[in-house]
Amino acid sequence: MQARVTVTLKAGVLDPQGKAIEGALRSLGIDGIGAIRQGKLFDVDLGAADPAKAQTVLTQACEQLLANTVIEDYRIELDGTHS
C-alpha cells in the first residue's frame, strides 16, 4: 500500500520561506498569486498493510516524528483517499 503524508504550517505561523517565494514569483512577473505557504510531502510505502493498520501507523509516524504539532498540521492520504 502507498500513502502520501502532507505536512503544512498551521494557520497563523509565520512562514519566512513562503514569503521569500512569493517575492521571487513577483520578481519573475508571475501575477495572480496571493500567498504561498511552504510544506513537506512524504511518499510512504507500507508494504502489505491493510488500510486501518496503515492509518494507525501513519498517525503514529506523524504525531511522533513527521510533524511538529506545535506549529504543523498533517494530512494522510491512502492510495488517493483522503482522511
Binding site: 505561523v13 516524528l65 506545535v70 506549529i71
Partner: protein
C-alpha cells in the same frame, strides 16, 4: 559538578563546550554517544551541544530528539538534574519536549554568525548566578533557525512564571528593533523549564571563555554551574 556532553552525528560544538566546562567547573566532562541508553553514574549536568545533528534533516533537532539517550536525558531532567541545551541542543530539547515551543527559520532567512548581546532576566538559577540582573552579556550567535516561536498561551506562561532566561539586546542592554537578530517572539534568546533546571538558548556562551577571542562573559555561566 559531574557533567556529560551528549554527541549526535553532525554535532560540531562538543569540544568547545567541553573546554568551557573544564575551564569553568574544573572538571572534564564525559562524552556520551547518542546511541547509549544511560548517563554516567552521578551525572549532575547534561549538555546538548550545538551543531547540525543529522544535517538538520526533517526539522532541526527532530531526529536527534528521538535518539536512544534522550529517554535517559528526560528522566534526568524529571529528577531535577541540570540540562544545558545550546543552539542545535536547544532545538533538540524543544523537539524532545524538554522545553516548550519551537525554533523556526530566521525571519530574514539568513544564517547569522556574529557577536550578540543578551539581557540576563534572573540571577537566581544554577546557570546565571554569576551575572547581574538586567546585565547585557556578550555571547555570540551562529544559526539559521533560531526564531523562537510558541503560541500566545505558552509565551504568557513563560513570562508569568519567570521562565525567560535571556533576551536579545544591543550592547547598551536595549531590546527590540535591530537588536533582535532572528525575529524571535518577545526577543527570547533562551528559556527555562518549569523547575528552572533545564536551560535552552540559541547563543553560544562556550565561545566567550577567553579574552583572546572576544571576552569571557560566557565563562561565567560555566563557573556558575560549579558554584
Amino acid at each position: 559538578m559531574i557533567s556529560a556532553v551528549v554527541t549526535f552525528p553532525g554535532i560540531n560544538r562538543e569540544t568547545d563546550v567541553a573546554r568551557a566546562l573544564t575551564k569553568g567547573t574544573g572538571r572534564r566532562p564525559t562524552m556520551v554517544w547518542h546511541a547509549e541508553t544511560a548517563l554516567p553514574q552521578g551525572t549532575d549536568l547534561v549538555v546538548l551541544p550545538g551543531g547540525f545533528s543529522y544535517g538538520d534533516y526533517l526539522r532541526c533537532g527532530a531526529i536527534a530528539a528521538r535518539a536512544p539517550i534522550m529517554d535517559a536525558v528526560r528522566a534526568h531532567a524529571a529528577r531535577g538534574g541540570l540540562v544545558l541545551a545550546i543552539c542545535n541542543g536547544f532545538q533538540i530539547a524543544c523537539e524532545a519536549g524538554l522545553l516548550p515551543g519551537v525554533l523556526v527559520r530566521n525571519q530574514n532567512l539568513r544564517f547569522l554568525c556574529h557577536f550578540q548581546h543578551v539581557q540576563v532576566e534572573r540571577t537566581d538559577t544554577a546557570f546565571t548566578r554569576r551575572f547581574a540582573a538586567g546585565e547585557a552579556v556578550k555571547f555570540c550567535v551562529a544559526h539559521g533557525e533560531g526564531n523562537y516561536t510558541a503560541d500566545t498561551d505558552t509565551l504568557e506562561r513563560l513570562e508569568g512564571d519567570g521562565r525567560v532566561a535571556f533576551r536579545y539586546c544591543n550592547a547598551a542592554g536595549e531590546t527590540g528593533g535591530q537588536s533582535n537578530p532572528n525575529g524571535s517572539e518577545r526577543n527570547i534568546a533562551g528559556i527555562y523549564s518549569a523547575d528552572l533546571n533545564v536551560l535552552g538558548l540559541m547563543p553560544h556562551p562556550e565561545n566567550l571563555i577567553d579574552p583572546l577571542v572576544g571576552g569571557t562573559d560566557g565563562l561565567r555561566l560555566f563557573e556558575a554551574l560549579a558554584a
